[in-house]
Every structure is written in C-alpha cells, then in structure tokens.
Symmetry: C2
Subunit: 136 residues, 2 copies
DNA sequence: TAATAAGATTGTAATCATTACATGTTTGTA
DNA sequence: TACAAACATGTAATGATTACAATCTTATTA
C-alpha cells in the first residue's frame, strides 16, 4: 500500500500543485526514507544531489504537501518536527532511549471516543512512548 | 477523580520534592485551570499574585512535576507546549478553528497495537483534530 | 519567438519558545 | 546564628521556524 511516484504525481496533478525538481526530490526522499525525517535530515540527505537546495524550500514544500494531505507532521514533544508520507493511519512509538520512531499498525476505528458526537474529527493520532527492544 | 491539593502534596512528599510557594501556586493554577495552559498563560495568570515569578521557575517546576509523573506535556503541532495535570488517561481534541483543546474519555486499553510485543510501553497519547461544535 | 505574468527558489534576517548559566534568596539543620 | 543545600530569578544564548526581498523558472499569450 506504499504510494509510488506515479500515485503521488497523480494526486498532485489533481490538486493543481506543480511538481518542481526540488519538490520531486523531497518527495522521493520521503518515500525512500521511511524514518520520519526532520527538515535537517532531508536537507543533509539531498545536499549532495542539490547543493543549492534551501531549507526554506523544504519548509515550503512540506507545508504544501501537508495541506494537500500527502504528508503528515508527526507530533512529539521534541522541538524538531518530523514528517511522514501519509499512508493508512498507523501509530507511532518513540523510544525514549535512542529516539527512534517506529510505526505500528493499529485499528484506529476501534477507538471510540465517549463524547465527541458533535465534533467533526478530521485527523487521528496515536503516539506511544517507551523503550524499544534494542534498548531494553 | 480530579486530584486535590492533598493528593498532590502526598505524592510530592512521597517523591521527596519540596513544595515551595511558587511550585504550590503553579500546581494550584494547573488544578483550577483545566484548559491545558501554556507557560505564557501560567505566567500571566499568576503575575498578579506573584509579580516576581520568573518563567524559568515555571519551566523548571513543570519539568520536575513531569518527571514525577504529576503533569503531562500535551503534544500538538503548535510550537508552544501545553500542560495538563496527569489524571486517568484521556484523549485530546484540538479544534483547528479556535485552537481550544478538549478532553475526551477513551478506553486506551482497547487500543491493541499489532506488533509492539517486544516494546515496553510507558505512555500512550491520543490526539484528534477537527472542528468543535461551536465552530461548526 | 518574444514578452509578460505568475509561481518557485534562495539566502538572510527576524521571531519566539525554550534552555543555560550566574547570581541572589530561602529553607532546614545543627 | 551559621552553614549548606536547594530554589528562584533575570539575562543571555540557542535553535527551529518564518518573513521577506531578490532572483530564477515556467507557462501563457500575442
């Protein structure tokens, strides 16, 4: 179910977002590096290929892709934001020791909130913390 | 099930955390203002009563209380952190229009992650976004 | 094809929440 | 009272993010 370039190109076209070289490379990076990278990591990772790439462009691109629903910002208590290609909803687990963020599958529809009947829910996030097997 | 001062004093004593005037007032504020305040809000709210209170003290106190498990930082994509007295686990819903954060009850144990059997889970967060009844 | 306008990218400078640090104050104990 | 440890305070530094102005690219139209 991982999106391919073609999937994403289609979605961008459908939303009238032009696909510049920089945007393409940022998307490529996100698809190939499913480690929930920070802006810094994207910047460093693309620097060899696009030495002129600016962080502002990365921020702009991520904002546009997020508004288009193709990318999600992962919210942790860290001050550096992390980004994830938006696929089916899944949970995130952050190891408090090594900082790695793991995906885990979860049936989000099974979460039935008690008293949100008059609210419109647009986004659901599940975020666990603890220790990963390697750090135990 | 809301904790009282006495509950909290007991817990602090049990953890060997001394209860200064400032810490007491910050706790008092958190107990009386269940609106998930920011540091700025705590600072402004206590300024009349303690004009000399410093933001550093608020940050320090919140960190100590969080380490003691009495306070939880709420993680949203906002850059300003919000704080909550740690009660039974509940979900948070942020209205994308007015920014208000609502609590909602949820049976967190009913969330069964698929593949975290070898992980130690220490904390679970549920964070929904959308529109609240008033903004609809 | 050339002219033009709209949209993208870039780099620098500003913003702002948070943290580090040094100094001054309070508290408990002998 | 004297002392030491813990605490509070204010200022300065940090660092991620955003604002902004200038430059470059792309698409469109005549």
């Amino acid at each position: 179910m991982k999106p391919t370039f073609e999937d994403i190109k289609q979605q961008l076209k459908a939303k009238n977002i032009s696909l510049s070289y920089q945007r393409l490379k940022i998307l490529e990076y996100l698809i190939e590096n499913r480690c929930h990278p920070t802006v810094e990591m994207i910047f460093a990772g693309l620097h060899d290929e696009i030495p002129t790439l600016s962080k502002t462009t990365i921020y702009n691109t991520l904002r546009i892709l997020e508004e288009a629903g193709l990318v999600k910002e992962i919210t942790t208590e860290d001050k550096e934001a992390r980004y994830d290609i938006a696929t089916e909803t899944h949970g995130h687990f952050k190891c408090e020791s090594c900082g790695t963020i793991f995906d885990f599958s979860v049936d989000i529809d099974s979460i039935i909130p008690g008293d949100l009947s008059r609210f419109v829910i647009k986004d659901k996030n599940i975020y666990f913390k603890g220790l990963c097997p390697r750090c135990l």
